[in-house]
Structures are given as structure tokens and as C-alpha cells.
């Protein structure tokens, strides 16, 4: 069934309080680091101080001799596993590489790479012992930058890595893990047809997901081999699958419980600590807890990829795009698997361009292995394509919004990366942006306005959910996706809508891996779509059952029962012949009509609706310091249907905030030895609250007909346009184009000095 008629909805579209809210506000919610078990030990990971080095030997004798130390593990304690692509996280991953990322094998590949771990009776003892682990290294030349890593003479990270996707297969190992291409039409032909062409190069920096909660877990390996894992992640089933594979444990022997999660943004779609803690727990025979410090989070986890983006556009003078080319070179970090695929696919997805050529490179270097981050890859390529489109608009003297309208993808447009669009709302976001009062606000001196759009696929996938009717007429929803943005509330709302009862009478819980059916992780903006679909279907099955029970009580045919506003009504020939029965009344009699009433649904949800957004950003530049102040920000997005509008707005505002941080200040600072010099929030500058204007989230609702309520994923596309929107606004304000992120004050001041050379003492 679908519920696309908004006017008929009673719960969906309202803004009730989330069930996890109060505990989070008062500090009672149990996050990763909050759990304790009797007899628990504390783990600490020893990490590489080198960017690239061969491990010649590891001596643990001194560390083991420290009183209170119960176990020490190195990669020798994790089974060596063969190379095998994993499909349990978000984005590309190989089980063997993940194992080596959790515990370095043979070589360390980045500053902060785990080499050993200790379990001891206190955190202080574990820390002391970790410092006493003696690792003899042979330091190797390292490479940090993506293009340096691609050079033929670059230090090679993996002897067995040969570039995929080039013909003939190369004979020499390289840091380029793969080359991918997408083509539509004939780029050379389109380029010839163009009347105006533009070619530009842009760079983005890797940035950390910067979740406030550091990685943490508490695990226990029982004497009989049964394991429990309590950890903060974006998917307990993901944790279970990775740990099973990395340690050779049967899946049935692992019970993974998701902690409340203090932010993930994609960065918690893989494991770092859990396999290590399991190995320690097995060796020590006790539960082991490990909590990362913020420094460890920066040195050892994430980040999102950064890279180089080269863009070409060919257009007719009237603004019609005829050709476009995109080359993306993305950082994968120490192991292959950057999000170069989605980066390539998202860059031009907003437009209808006849001739397109796209090439992507996945490049390893001596940095932590990249992890997913909101719309992985898309912000990188889109910073290039949407900045370049703005440059083209200036060249063509066409309003940037108008240029987007002229070329916008619509129903039936074939995207460069393959699909033919159906039910998309891109032009609607342009219309809403154009009509928004923001566009009419006059700008003052040194102020500028920028527009940028963005796309993200959104995914569906495997989800299971159960709905249980309780004796008192309340209902419980059980599902398996960690709640990163208010999804428990949305699940309960969809169930309440279908059951016809108040939201407050439905509680949604996120259960452990042994208490609910399989759910793919919380990622790809899939949960409200896919798990929401499972919840809706389970609630519908419950309604069918409720009608059956009412029919039994009345002794009529179940077909002759209607369900409305939480009550069964006799219908058809029996209409009016019985008093309606409420869900509560039916629940009370459930024992006598066949037993408890519940339903479980397991699906592989298809038809996730594409997400498009158009953002408007106003900035003001302090020409003397180069400081950029974001004055106003309006983010228009096709959200399908906002199940809980506040949490949709929250996703939009959060994504924009992170995008502004990526645009203006965030970057990793490596010293000449390849060591990270800013592993903390003091010098890794995410925005603070006072850096942000109020971000206005404008929700355009073009329902996704493949979801019962019309929902689309909303969590990722908000981070796609901001970097270009900010850059375009800066260009509008000062007439100079910033093509390298971050657009930090020193870079802006240097750019301004080129326009207007200052009097400097140095001269």
C-alpha cells in the first residue's frame, strides 16, 4: 500500500519528540564508552610513529612484564586471510586489507597505523605497557599527496598492487589501484560542437568525519567461543560480519549490540577496534574494553578522500552544454578503495549533457585508509563540476541559476553514468531556489552570492523489522539500524500511521544482531527508506491480523472488516452491526483469538529515490585578513516526503555545516616525515557554532513512488553542494576564483594581494 496523499496523513509529517532524545540530553544514553562488564580489562593500541616502514621485529617482553598486563596481540594473533572483496560496509573494502588496517602486517603504512595492542587491569597500565612495546622499524620513503603518489618513481605502498582497468595489465606495481571510465556519446565530437569551452583544475583535501564520539567497544569472548560485542558503529550486522571474517568466528557465535552513536557520518561503517579487542579478550579470557583518544581518531581512522578534479565544459553560446569531461584522482589512503566510482558518477548527474567522458583514479598513499563520509566522493567531484559551471556561467554571461535550468536533468534524461531518470525533483529545487526570498536580498560591499547543486543516489537494500502489538494496545517496533539522525522516531511514526494509533503509543528499538533480522548498515541514506519500508509492511501485516481477529470475535469474514483510526469496523453487509473494536480491545483478547499479534518483514528494498539539492550561499570577505563569513545559507532539497520534518532539516543543516567546514578550514597538516601535526580539534578546524549562520532548509517534496510514504534518503546530498556554493559566493564577492580547498584566510589573503598588492615590510 502507499500513503502518498499528504492530506490524509495524521502522524507522518508531524514533529514529535524522538524516543532517544531525553536520555541523550540528560547524559544517560549509553554510548560506546559507557558500558562495563565484571572483570573487564582495558585495551590500548600501540601505533606507528612512521608514515611508511617495514616492521623488522616486535618485542613485547617489557610490556608483558608490567604488573597488571594480561594479554598483548599483534597481527600474528589475527588469522592471515586471503584477499576478498567485502560487501558489508559502505564503499569498497577488502577483508585482507581491513585486517591489515586493524593490525599492521609486515609494514606500517601511515602514522598512527596500529601495530600491537595490550589488555591490562587499568587504562593507565595499558597505556604504560603499550609504550613499552618495542618495534624495530626500517623506515621507508613515504608519499602523502595524491599526484605525488601517482608518479612513476613514487614510493610504492603495496608490491602486489597493479593498476586495474588499463590495458595491457601493467607489469609494475603502482599506487594507482584502479582506473575507471564512464562515457556517454562522443566527447571529442561534442567538444568540436562547442562554441565556448572551459577547462579548470580543482583540489580538495581529505577531511575527517569529526564525529564527537571516539570509537569505543567492549567485547567478551566466552570460554565456549561465544562472543559479545558492544560498540558504537553504524551497523551491528556490519561489525558482526567483519569480526567473524577477520577472526574466523561463526556468525552465530557473535552477538553484536549497537551502542548509542555519537555521530558517524560514514566513518563508523567499518571496524578498527572490535577485532583487536576480540583477539585480546580471547587471549586474556576476560572482557576487554578499548576507547580511542581523539588523537587516535585523527591518526588512525577516517578520513574522507580528497583529491584532484579536472573539469572541461563545452557549451553553445545560449548556454546549452554539449560536452563535459571529468578526471578525478582520489585518495584511498593506505589501502585501495576510495569512493572514486561515486565521485565520477555524481559530478554531472544534475545535467543533461549529450557527450561526456569521465575518468577516475583510485590512489593509495601513506595516510589512514579513507572511510565513507556523507555522499562519499560526490563532494569532491561536485566541488569541481559546480565551480566550473559557475566559471562557465560568468564566461557566457548567463545567470548561474538560469544556466542550471537550461541544462537540468529531468524525467527521462539519461545520466552520463547510465541510468535514465524517473521521478526526480531537480528542476523543482531550482524553481524553489529561484522563488526564495534569499535571492532578492541585496548584497553589500565585499559580499557575494553563490549557487551550487548536487546529487546523491541514495540506496535501499536489506532490512528487517518487526511490529509487536502489546497487551495494552501499544506497539513495539524492533529493527536493526543504529539511529544516527532520529530514525527511531520516523520508524515509530510510520508504524503509528499504518496502525492508526498515536505516535506516543509506539516505541521503536534498535536491537542487537541476535534479536532482530538482518539489516544492512546505516548508510547511503537508506534507513528511513528501506527499514521504513520494512516497518510499514510489518505494520500492514499486523493490521491484516487485527482485522482477522476482529472478524473472529464478530464471527464474520475478515474481508468484511475495515481498519480505520486504530479500530476495526464491520463493513459491507455487516456495516453498523457491531461496535468498532479498538486495537487495544483486540490486543486484550489476542490470547483467545490465536495468540500474540506480531509480524516480521525482511526485504531487499528497491527503488530508492535519487536526491537532488540546490544551495544558495552568501558570504562576506574581510579583505585584510582573508576571513570568510557565511552570512546566509539556504539549502533546497527534494526530500520525497519528510517523515519527520525536524530531523530532515537537521540532516540538511548538519550536512551543510560539515560542507562549509570542508570548504573553509578543514585540512590535515603533515610534517616532512609524514606525521600528522594537527591530530586534535584545536588545530583541525571544524566550524564552531558561531561560525554558522542559521541554515534555512527548504524541503521540496516530490514523492518517491517506490516508498510507501514517498520518502527519499536525505542525509547525504546536503554535503554535496556547499563547497562549490561557498567558492562561487567568494568569486562573486571578490572576483577571484578559489580552486583549492580549504579556502582558508591565508589563501584568500594571498589571492586578494594579487589583485591589490599591499605595502609590505618585507619589500
Amino acid at each position: 500500500m502507499t500513503y502518498l496523499d499528504k492530506a490524509s496523513l495524521k502522524v507522518v509529517g508531524t514533529r514529535p519528540i524522538r524516543p532517544d532524545g531525553v536520555d541523550k540530553v540528560i547524559g544517560r544514553a549509553a554510548f560506546g564508552a559507557d558500558m562495563v562488564l565484571p572483570g573487564m580489562l582495558w585495551g590500548k593500541v600501540a601505533r606507528s610513529p612512521h608514515a611508511h616502514a617495514r616492521i623488522k621485529s616486535i618485542n613485547i617482553d617489557k610490556a608483558l612484564a608490567v604488573p597488571g598486563v594480561k594479554a598483548i596481540v599483534t597481527s600474528a594473533d589475527l588469522p592471515a586471510i586471503p584477499s576478498e572483496e567485502a560487501f558489508v560496509g559502505e564503499g569498497p573494502m577488502n577483508f585482507r586489507d581491513l585486517s591489515s588496517n586493524c593490525m599492521a602486517r609486515g609494514k606500517v603504512l601511515y602514522d598512527g597505523h596500529a601495530v600491537a595492542a595490550v589488555a591490562a587491569t587499568s587504562p593507565a597500565i595499558a597505556e604504560e605497557a603499550a609504550a613499552l612495546i618495542e618495534v624495530e622499524y626500517e623506515v621507508l620513503p613515504h608519499v602523502i599527496d595524491v599526484e605525488d603518489a601517482m608518479k612513476p618513481d613514487a614510493p610504492v605502498l603495496h608490491d602486489d598492487l597493479f593498476t586495474q582497468g588499463i590495458d595491457p595489465k601493467p607489469a609494475k606495481a603502482s599506487n594507482i589501484a584502479k582506473r575507471i571510465t564512464f562515457t556517454k556519446g562522443d566527447f571529442a565530437q561534442g567538444w568540436k560542437e562547442a562554441e565556448v569551452t572551459i577547462e579548470r583544475r580543482y583540489t580538495t583535501q581529505p577531511v575527517h568525519q569529526a564525529y564527537i564520539e571516539p570509537h569505543a567497544c567492549l567485547v567478551s569472548v566466552g570460554a565456549d567461543g561465544q562472543c559479545t560485542i558492544f560498540s558504537s558503529s553504524q551497523g551491528q550486522f556490519m561489525v558482526r560480519a567483519y569480526c567473524a571474517k577477520l577472526l574466523g568466528i561463526d556468525i552465530a557465535n557473535i552477538r553484536a549490540t549497537p551502542a548509542e552513536i555519537g555521530g558517524g557520518f560514514g566513518g563508523k561503517t567499518l571496524v578498527y577496534l572490535e577485532p583487536v579487542a576480540l583477539a585480546l579478550s580471547k587471549k586474556a579470557g576476560k572482557p576487554v574494553k578499548i576507547v580511542m583518544s581523539r588523537e587516535e581518531v585523527f591518526r588512525g581512522t577516517g578520513p574522507a578522500a580528497g583529491g584532484v578534479i579536472e573539469v572541461k565544459y563545452g557549451a553553445k553560446k545560449d548556454g546549452r552544454l554539449v560536452a563535459a569531461e571529468l578526471v578525478v584522482k582520489l585518495q584511498a589512503g593506505a589501502f585501495p578503495g576510495s569512493p572514486v566510482g561515486p565521485a565520477c558518477m555524481c559530478g554531472f548527474a544534475m545535467y543533461d549533457i549529450p557527450h561526456v567522458n569521465i575518468v577516475g583514479y583510485d590512489v593509495v598513499s601513506n595516510r589512514p585508509k579513507v572511510a565513507a563520509y556523507r555522499a562519499p566522493g560526490a563532494p569532491n567531484s561536485t566541488f569541481g563540476t559546480e565551480s566550473c559551471l559557475d566559471e562557465l556561467a560568468i564566461e557566457l554571461k548567463i545567470d548561474p541559476l538560469k544556466l542550471r535550468e537550461i541544462n537540468a536533468a529531468k524525467e527521462g534524461t539519461k545520466a552520463a553514468h547510465g541510468p535514465t531518470w524517473a521521478n526526480i525533483g531537480y528542476t523543482q529545487t531550482l524553481d524553489a531556489a529561484k522563488a526564495h526570498p534569499h535571492m532578492k536580498i541585496a548584497l553589500g560591499p565585499n559580499q557575494g552570492r553563490g549557487i551550487a547543486s548536487g546529487f546523491w543516489f541514495n540506496i535501499g537494500g536489506e532490512s528487517a523489522a518487526s511490529v509487536y502489538v502489546n497487551e495494552d494496545g501499544t506497539a513495539t517496533v524492533v529493527e536493526g539500524n543504529p539511529d544516527v539522525g532520529g530514525s527511531r522516531a520516523s520508524m515509530a511514526m510510520m508504524a503509528a500511521e499504518v496502525l492508526g494509533i498515536a505516535y506516543e503509543r509506539v516505541r521503536a528499538v534498535v536491537a542487537d544482531t541476535s534479536s532482530t533480522g538482518y539489516c544492512f548498515l546505516t548508510g547511503g541514506s537508506r534507513v528511513t527508506f528501506a527499514t521504513g519500508m520494512a516497518v510499514t509492511q510489518a505494520a500492514e501485516k499486523v493490521v491484516v491480523e487485527l482485522k482477522k481477529r476482529a472478524a473472529m470475535i464478530w464471527d464474520i469474514s475478515p474481508d468484511a472488516v475495515d481498519w480505520k483510526d486504530g479500530k476495526a469496523y464491520p463493513a459491507g453487509p455487516n456495516a453498523g452491526s457491531f461496535e468498532p473494536l479498538s486495537l487495544g480491545e483486540i490486543a486484550l483478547k489476542a490470547g483467545r483469538t490465536g495468540g500474540p499479534i506480531s509480524a516480521e518483514v525482511s526485504i531487499n528494498a528497491q527503488g530508492a529515490g535519487a536526491g537532488f539539492a540546490t544551495h544558495i550561499c552568501d558570504v562576506e570577505i574581510d579583505r585584510e585578513t582573508g576571513h570568510v563569513k557565511v552570512l546566509r545559507y539556504t539549502a533546497v532539497q527534494d526530500v520525497g516526503r519528510a517523515i519527520h520534518p525536524s530531523y530532515v532539516e537537521g540532516q540538511i543543516q548538519g550536512g551543510v555545516t560539515q560542507g562549509i567546514g570542508w570548504a573553509l578550514n578543514e585540512e590535515y597538516v603533515y610534517d616532512k616525515h609524514g606525521r600528522l601535526d594537527n591530530a586534535g580539534f584545536l588545530d583541525y578546524r571544524i566550524p564552531v557554532a558561531s561560525d554558522m549562520p542559521m541554515i534555512e532548509a527548504v524541503m521540496v517534496e516530490v514523492p518517491n513512488p517506490r516508498h510507501p510514504f514517498g520518502a527519499r534518503g536525505v542525509g547525504e546530498v546536503p554535503i554535496v553542494p556547499p563547497m562549490a556554493a561557498v567558492a562561487n559566493a567568494i568569486a562573486d564577492a571578490i572576483g577571484t576564483r578559489m580552486r583549492d580547498l580549504p579556502m582558508s584566510p591565508p589563501k584568500l589573503r594571498a589571492a586578494l594581494d594579487l589583485q591589490d598588492p599591499p605595502r609590505l615590510a618585507a619589500e
Binding site: 585578513t625 561560525d691 584566510p745 615590510a761
Partner: protein, 290 residues
């Protein structure tokens, strides 16, 4: 395993004894907003911590004749809340107000800011610009030195073993004397100064500068008193030419480094910008006192 003892004496003398008696590294604790962070990160492993906050004379602000006397461990919020101090030295209070957040200012002291000896400390330039002195207690009794004599390099002070700052003495402003402090950070708060600049000026009745001190932070191993910049102001009103000279003088004084917080070139440029902007505020405030 690292162990640390803690003591909270009630008098300056007891504190001197405790510090002098420690065999290993002994650290003074005021607000702890630097010290505890360093302890936790493992950068520092003292044997003894001597907490100053229980010593009555080290907390609070008194007026003694021509001086404001500020107890060394006085938290920033008490300075901001002191109306007469705020009126006399809005620049000092600006420096204090920039330290961290409200929570941090509930602990953070000027003495800690100074003795942590970071070139970027925000409250230090305006205190130096006010020609304040520090009263130091130690095993050999008390001595009084100019505040600028205390920091000798990043993380290093001229205080001898067992010595600590008891209080600061800030001479009250003359007529038409006022100050201002500005810092530049890439964000709007919770950051470390890329450059800081305090300007303290005294004007005559006609608005001409008759005395000035310009102090830069974060552009050299210690705070810099820029005499050439003060000279650019003295004898002048704040016209375009004076501002340009001030800008150049501030730039010339800088001996910055390139690090994760800023490059040499950028810091130098910003020093000039901030000197001009801080001077403009200080002049306006001083003139308003006529």
C-alpha cells in the same frame, strides 16, 4: 606507573615550601586549563601539583592607591565581571574574554596564561601594554618584575625553582588613556591566536597621542613590545599616514614561524592589520574619556 601528589596550601609561604621541597618536577596549578590538558596528553609528568586557589590573597581584584591588584589565580570571569577594571582596561578584559569559552574562563587565570608561556596567550599582550608588574614569591622572599620579563621563550619562564606569581599590579590609567586587544583566528571562537595585538594609548586633550605601547602576540617566541610602532603613534593623531607607519612597524617587528596555525608571510601581514585596527579602537576609547 606515573604518580602525582597534590597539595592545596592556604598561604603563600606554605606554597613556597611545598614547591621548594619537591625533589622532582613541581607545578603550580591555578585554573588548570593548560596544566590538566598537558598532564592528560602525557606532555608533562610532574611529581607534585600545588593548587593556588585556596590562597585567599591570590584570588580576587583589589584597588590599592594607583593600582589594580589582581590575584594571580583569579579566574577570567571575575575580571570580566569587575566593572571598574573593565572600564579602566577594556583591552585586558577583551584578552581574557577570548580565552576558550565561558566554562574555560570560569577557571583560566592570567598567571596561568602568562606562565604557560605560549606566544599566543591572549591576556598577556594587553597586560604588558598596560605596563603591569608581577609580584613573585619564592624561597628568597618576594620580588616584583615587569610582566614582560617573565616569559623567555615558548614554554619557558624566568621564574626560578620554587617561584610563582602571587599577583599582578596594573597602574590605573591616566586621563585619556585606554587600550584594546584584537586577535585573529580562522574561526570565530575556540582557537589559538594566529596573531594578537594590544594597543594602549594616552591622548592629549586635542586627540594627539602622547604615550603608547603596542604589543604583539604569536609572531615571535615571546610577546613583543614594538617600540617603533609606539613611536609611529606618539605625537600623531590617527590619520592615514600614521596608520600606514604603524602597520609597517608592526610588520617589521615580527619574527614568526610557519606552523599549522599560520605562515610567516600571513602572520606578518595580519600583525600590521591588527595593529591598525586595535589602535583605531584604543584611540576612539581614549578620546571618549576626555
Amino acid at each position: 606507573m606515573p604518580r602525582v601528589s597534590y597539595t592545596a596550601p592556604a598561604t603563600v609561604d606554605e606554597a613556597v615550601k611545598a614547591l621548594a621541597g619537591a625533589a622532582g618536577l613541581a607545578k603550580v596549578l591555578s585554573g588548570g586549563t593548560d596544566l590538566l590538558v598537558q598532564l592528560k596528553s602525557g606532555r608533562l609528568a610532574p611529581e607534585l601539583i600545588v593548587d593556588m586557589k585556596r590562597i585567599p590573597e591570590m584570588i580576587g581584584i583589589r584597588e590599592e592607591g594607583e593600582f589594580f591588584v589582581i590575584g594571580a589565580a583569579t579566574p577570567g570571569v571575575m575580571l570580566s565581571a569587575h566593572e571598574r577594571l573593565e572600564h579602566a582596561f577594556p583591552g585586558i578584559v577583551e584578552g581574557v574574554d577570548l580565552i576558550g569559552s565561558t566554562q574555560i574562563q570560569g577557571r583560566a587565570s592570567i598567571a596561568g596564561n602568562l606562565c604557560n608561556a605560549s606566544p599566543a596567550a591572549d591576556s598577556v599582550p594587553p597586560v604588558i601594554a598596560a605596563r603591569a608588574t608581577a609580584v613573585i614569591a619564592g624561597p628568597n622572599g618576594r620580588r616584583e618584575v615587569a610582566v614582560e620579563a617573565i616569559v623567555i621563550g615558548p614554554g619557558r619562564t624566568s621564574l626560578a625553582k620554587g617561584e610563582f606569581v602571587v599577583e599582578f599590579k596594573v597602574p590605573k590609567p591616566k586621563p585619556r588613556q585606554c587600550d584594546a586587544y584584537l586577535r585573529f583566528i580562522p574561526r570565530t571562537e575556540m582557537d589559538i591566536a594566529v596573531v594578537g595585538c594590544a594597543v594602549n594609548v594616552t591622548l592629549d586633550a586635542g586627540g594627539t597621542c602622547i604615550d603608547a605601547r603596542v604589543v604583539l602576540g604569536a609572531v615571535a617566541p615571546t610577546q613583543l613590545i614594538v617600540d617603533e610602532a609606539a613611536q609611529a603613534l606618539i605625537g600623531h593623531k590617527l590619520d592615514a599616514d600614521t596608520l600606514a607607519k604603524l602597520d609597517l612597524a608592526a610588520q617589521r617587528a615580527c619574527k614568526p614561524i610557519t606552523d599549522k596555525r599560520g605562515t610567516i608571510e600571513y602572520r606578518i601581514k595580519i600583525a600590521g592589520v591588527l595593529a591598525r585596527r586595535a589602535a583605531a579602537i584604543a584611540f576612539e576609547r581614549a578620546a571618549a574619556r576626555a
